[in-house]
């Protein structure tokens, strides 16, 4: 059976940098920016590990501002 691979898109302008997605991700795919901020002045979440996400959507489910879109696909 093929491996499941996931991908996320963070709406970084909607993000408020609460960090709850990074806490919820079991694979530690996300991190908050340290210097860069969005137009609201918040740090924002971004994917730091390419290729690791399995599309479980924990980050997206926990995000209070509905900033994360999740996709997943089985590797052929």
């Amino acid at each position: 059976m093929g491996k499941i691979k996931g991908a996320i898109i963070v709406d970084t302008e909607r993000c408020k940098g609460c960090g709850l997605c990074a806490v919820a991700c079991p694979l530690h795919v996300l991190e908050l920016t340290k210097r860069e901020v969005n137009k609201k002045g918040y740090s924002f979440a971004r994917q730091i590990m390419e290729d690791t996400c399995n599309g479980c959507a924990s980050c997206a489910v926990i995000c209070p501002d509905a900033c994360i879109t999740v996709y997943k696909k089985k590797e052929e």
Binding site: G17, G19, I62, A66
Partner: protein, 254 residues
């Protein structure tokens, strides 16, 4: 397989609920209100009730809920949401009618309206966001504030002789004959969020099917009022709030 192969409409597993519009929510970063809003939007969408829902918003941080979830709303005077919901549901029995209220709104100024609407068995759902504090006005003590918990009006911690005891209004609700479903949930983990979603769905179906009053308490954080980071607030809630407000169904007659 590249990221571009994965990011395709047919592979979508989670997106912002369509009923949640693009208006940025004014809630503080990490606030439980946002998660609760998302669940409500998802459920109404899944039930196909977008055009047949009437929600009542409170006074409190959720006062602007009508700006975010795209259904019909009425903004009630502080604490009076259950009375407004009772009237709406009686006049319009085929609608899904629910209130969305904080603990200051529901368990302080609106205690009377809450208890009587539940006791009358109005066919409404009440979503009760209990963060044990008045979030909107700057973190004052609420009837739900825990013993020893510090707020801006009890900076040395709540004391029984001065402030009385935390009000367990959900437990009271479960003793009333008009309630069919009373539950206490939370939204701090993915598993908890899934359970809360099921609970709100049941409460909404009870309203729609005219099966008496339902109360879903969501034990919540107010990280700004508690003066903690969102992550710390979730931990603090698990350690302290759940002792006073244990999760689970208190009553389910259906």
């Amino acid at each position: 397989m590249t990221t571009n192969d994965i990011i395709k409409p047919e592979n979508l597993v989670y997106r912002k609920p369509t009923l949640l519009n693009d208006t940025p929510m004014h809630y503080c970063p990490g606030c439980s209100h946002g998660v609760a809003h998302k669940l409500i939007a998802e459920i109404i969408e899944e039930m196909g009730m977008e055009e047949k829902t009437i929600a009542i918003s409170p006074v409190g941080c959720a006062v602007f809920a009508y700006n975010y979830i795209d259904v019909d709303w009425i903004e009630a005077a502080h604490g009076r949401a259950p009375a407004v919901a009772s009237a709406v549901k009686r006049l319009w029995p085929d609608r899904l009618v629910f209130t969305y209220q904080g603990d200051g709104d529901l368990a302080c100024i609106g205690t009377g309206e809450t208890i009587h609407a539940l006791n009358r068995g109005e066919h409404i759902a009440i979503i009760f966001i209990n963060n044990a504090i008045y979030g909107m006005t700057g973190g004052q003590m609420a009837p739900t504030t825990l013993m020893g918990m510090k707020t801006s009006t009890c900076p040395y911690g709540r004391e029984a002789d001065l402030h009385g005891y935390p009000l367990h209004i959900t437990d009271i609700a479960a003793t009333l004959e008009g309630t069919t479903y009373v539950t206490r949930q939370a939204v701090h983990t993915v598993a908890a969020i899934r359970k809360t979603k099921k609970a709100i769905r049941q409460a909404f179906e009870n309203s729609l099917n005219g099966q008496g009053a339902s109360l879903v308490e969501v034990v919540s954080t107010c990280n700004a009022g508690w003066k903690m980071s969102p992550e710390q607030a979730n931990k603090w809630m698990e350690e302290h709030m759940f002792k006073y407000y244990p999760l689970g169904d208190l009553k389910n007659l259906l």
